[in-house]
């Protein structure tokens, strides 16, 4: 069997999200609200020196994600790295950092919260980067973020 020349197609223009710990690629896609527009390539389970459990890669063609968008990835995959590609070359290597505020992406786990009972739009503020821990602006409970709290992303 001949060895494949590539595992994930390279892209000419767009955004590459690398070093996502396996198997969080689909959650990253969800957090960014992607999948409805353009070509999206997802690769999962590559070997990685940096991530012993393996890494996933997401490539988004013809779309440059903003910093506020890519920072959302830090909620579940702070190790991820971002490359912005233009005309086949790396235009920008970007590190991500936790967003101070998160609106409409995380679900508050408190069943008696106004976001669950009265239709308030979820809105969190960063309390502690370790965890990370965010506080709901409505019920004021502090919550350690995990991927199960992700809602389908909505666009402002």
């Amino acid at each position: 069997m001949t060895e494949r020349t590539y595992k994930v197609y390279s892209i000419t223009n767009g955004t590459v999200i690398d070093h996502i710990p396996t198997p969080l690629a689909l959650k990253v896609v969800r957090i960014l609200g992607l999948g409805q527009e353009g070509i999206l390539t997802i690769g999962m389970g590559f070997t990685s020196k940096r991530l012993p459990g393996g890494k996933d890669i997401v490539k988004i063609e013809n779309r440059v994600l903003s910093r506020s968008e890519t920072d959302m990835i830090a909620l579940i995959a702070p190790e991820a790295t971002i490359n912005i590609i233009k005309d086949g070359a790396v235009l920008e290597k970007r590190r991500i950092s936790l967003p101070e505020g998160v609106t409409g992406i995380l679900r508050c786990p408190n069943p008696n919260c106004a976001t669950q009972q009265l239709g308030a739009r979820p809105d969190f503020r960063l309390v502690d980067p370790v965890g990370p821990v965010y506080r709901c602006r409505f019920c004021e409970r502090a919550t350690k973020v995990d991927a199960d709290l992700l809602m389908h992303a909505t666009r402002d």
């Binding site: 008696n112 106004a114 602006r137 409505f138």
Partner: protein, 306 residues
């Protein structure tokens, strides 16, 4: 002080030490008779989506004693929510009928949501297990009245420290004033780790014990809370702690005799009636202070009190 006009009062988290000082000072002026009729010409909606006798009546008394007009409802069955109207629509409608709104709701964050929909100031009169800021303001005023200061007081908080929102808010407020706090509770009703972490993050130390006698003899205030049956999912867990504390005259003496006893009321059996006659017992005065505190707050947010 002009900064209060038009402001929503939702959570202790929004309040600075200067804000708390302003409210305490304004309450003192109101109580000494210096601000009569400050709500004349103002109409206040008092909407209780969950029953509460003491808080609702003290708000209504505060409005009437300040010359304001009051309307509202005392339970959700009396509102059009029973016809299926959303909370948001109720707020959007009633905001056009009044100059300020007082809201109690069993859902945590309801008052915050209301403040985003209303065009008049919203005062949170309790949102589930989250916040009840006006209780904390009247507690602060009562201590200021009693000691002439708030800085550096030694406070014991005893009872249900796990579910009691009153003690969470009070601890958060007293942290502004460098209080020395002792938390007295059975092991399964201890102050939640999240609340303790917030205190530690602000450099406020505390002690945890199980019996009031372990709090030492130099407490300024012993703040007692009811073990709240309605917060327990498991009746057996409630029974295991239900009657674990009962303050008697003997306990007060063991605490050094000059400690002031406070309680947000209602009490069940955690303070023996014999304690009521001691000069240490200030919980009814504390409850009465709810009226001038709420007068002052309404005056500040409507602009009737400068």
């Amino acid at each position: 002080m002009g900064s209060f006009k038009g402001r929503h009062i939702i959570s202790l988290r929004d309040m600075s030490v200067d804000d708390l000082g302003t409210i305490v000072e304004a309450t003192a002026r109101v109580k000494s008779g210096g601000a009569a009729d400050m709500l004349r010409g103002s109409t206040v909606a008092v909407m209780f989506f969950e029953p509460s006798t003491r808080t609702r009546l003290s708000f209504e008394s505060a409005i009437l004693q300040s010359g304001g007009r009051v309307f509202g409802f005392a339970s959700p069955g009396a509102s059009s929510q029973s016809k299926g109207e959303s909370f948001a629509d109720t707020i959007r409608t009633v905001t056009g009928y009044c100059d300020a709104m007082v809201i109690r709701h069993p859902v945590e964050g309801a008052a915050r949501l209301a403040s985003e929909l209303a065009t008049v100031p919203v005062i949170n009169a309790g949102d589930g297990a989250n916040q009840h800021p006006t209780q904390t303001f009247l507690d602060l005023f009562t201590m200021e009245e009693e000691f002439g200061r708030l800085d550096g007081l030694k406070i014991g908080m005893m009872g249900d420290l796990k579910y009691g929102r009153t003690v969470h808010s009070l601890a958060m407020a007293m942290a502004h004033f460098g209080a020395r706090m002792t938390f007295i509770s059975p092991p399964n009703l201890r102050m939640p780790d999240s609340a303790k972490a917030e205190l530690l993050a602000r450099g406020i130390g505390f002690t945890e014990v199980q019996q009031p006698e372990e709090a030492g003899v130099d407490l300024d205030v012993l703040y007692i809370t009811r073990i709240q049956k309605e917060r327990f999912g498991d009746p057996q867990e409630y029974e295991s702690v239900a009657h674990c504390y009962r303050l008697t005259c003997e306990t007060v003496r063991a605490l050094g005799g000059s400690v002031r006893i406070m309680h947000p009321l209602p009490r069940v059996d955690e303070i023996a009636e014999e304690v009521d006659t001691l000069p240490n017992a200030i919980y009814f005065r504390q409850a009465h202070n709810g009226v001038p505190t709420r007068q002052a707050l309404l005056g500040l947010v409507t602009g009737g009190l400068e």
